[in-house]
């Protein structure tokens, strides 16, 4: 299978999964994914800066998200 055919096949699987989801779950899945990503980012920040307290971790997390937003807008 070519790379393009594989990409198409994976995309069609995504489409089929989305069609099968319950309406409420579809509506809120994006926020759940975001929270999961934030938890992982916060774990990374704590690993990188073990001395930071919860407020410091939150502040750095927000700064990194803002940087990602800025990159996305470019």
């Amino acid at each position: 299978m070519s790379l393009a055919a594989l990409a198409d096949s994976l995309y069609l699987e995504e489409v089929a999964r989305a069609r099968a989801m319950a309406p409420g779950d579809k509506l809120l899945e994006g926020t759940r994914l975001f929270e999961r990503a934030c938890r992982m980012m916060a774990d990374g920040i704590r690993h990188q800066h073990p001395a930071l307290d919860a407020a410091g971790v939150h502040s750095l997390l927000v700064a990194r998200l803002q940087r990602l937003d800025a990159i996305e807008r470019q």
Binding site: S9, L12, V15, G24, L27, T31
Partner: protein, 188 residues
């Protein structure tokens, strides 16, 4: 309070305060297309004097409505922020504008039953029409992906004459066709 609980709380507060609204942005794109991570919940609201305070009063502890409006460059409207304590997640309330499509998409908003309540969501066609304009003006990759995903997931039941009427008016028909053609054929 988690972010998804915050979304439900804002929906309930909008109902309690009697604010006509519809869910737009990535939540609505996820609803009609393929869910992706999002750090905000966007709503278009019809605000008359007094409603903002009623909405602020209806929000539970942990959610704060900022009364100061800010101008939003992408949508060309004013917005109010709802912040969730201790979280980077935010709600954004965009005041419905005089733009012809903004008004029509509000009239066409859909009542959707989710988690034992009715929520108002922008239609799939109107999400596509709106995001086509943004791709045309702001060139955000995620908007192009959202359009492609909605077209792929909702292929059979989209109102194509409606879509083409607005894309013709906005000069985005060739963009619509280009994105539509990028979808693998068997998903249509």
């Amino acid at each position: 309070m988690t972010a998804d609980q915050a979304v439900i709380a804002v929906l309930d507060a909008l109902e309690t305060a009697g604010v006509p609204y519809m869910i737009v942005g990535s939540l609505a794109a996820n609803f009609h297309g393929i869910p992706r991570s999002t750090r905000d919940a966007d709503f278009v609201v019809e605000l008359v004097p007094g409603l903002l305070q009623r909405l602020a009063d209806a929000l539970p502890a942990g959610l704060t409505l900022h009364p100061q409006a800010a101008f939003e460059a992408v949508t060309g409207t004013t917005r109010h922020l709802v912040e969730l304590a201790g979280s980077p997640f935010v709600g954004e309330l965009f005041v419905r504008s005089d733009d012809a499509h903004d008004q029509e998409r509000f009239r066409r908003r859909l009542p959707v039953r989710v988690f034992d309540r009715v929520a108002w969501v922008a239609s799939a066609e109107d999400m596509i029409v709106t995001k086509l304009r943004w791709v045309d003006q702001v060139h955000r990759t995620k908007d192009r992906d959202d359009i492609r995903n909605i077209l792929a997931v909702r292929a059979e039941d989209l109102d194509w004459p409606y879509l083409r009427r607005w894309s013709d008016l906005h000069g985005t028909t060739s963009l619509l066709e280009e994105i539509h053609q990028s979808i693998p054929p068997s998903s249509a």
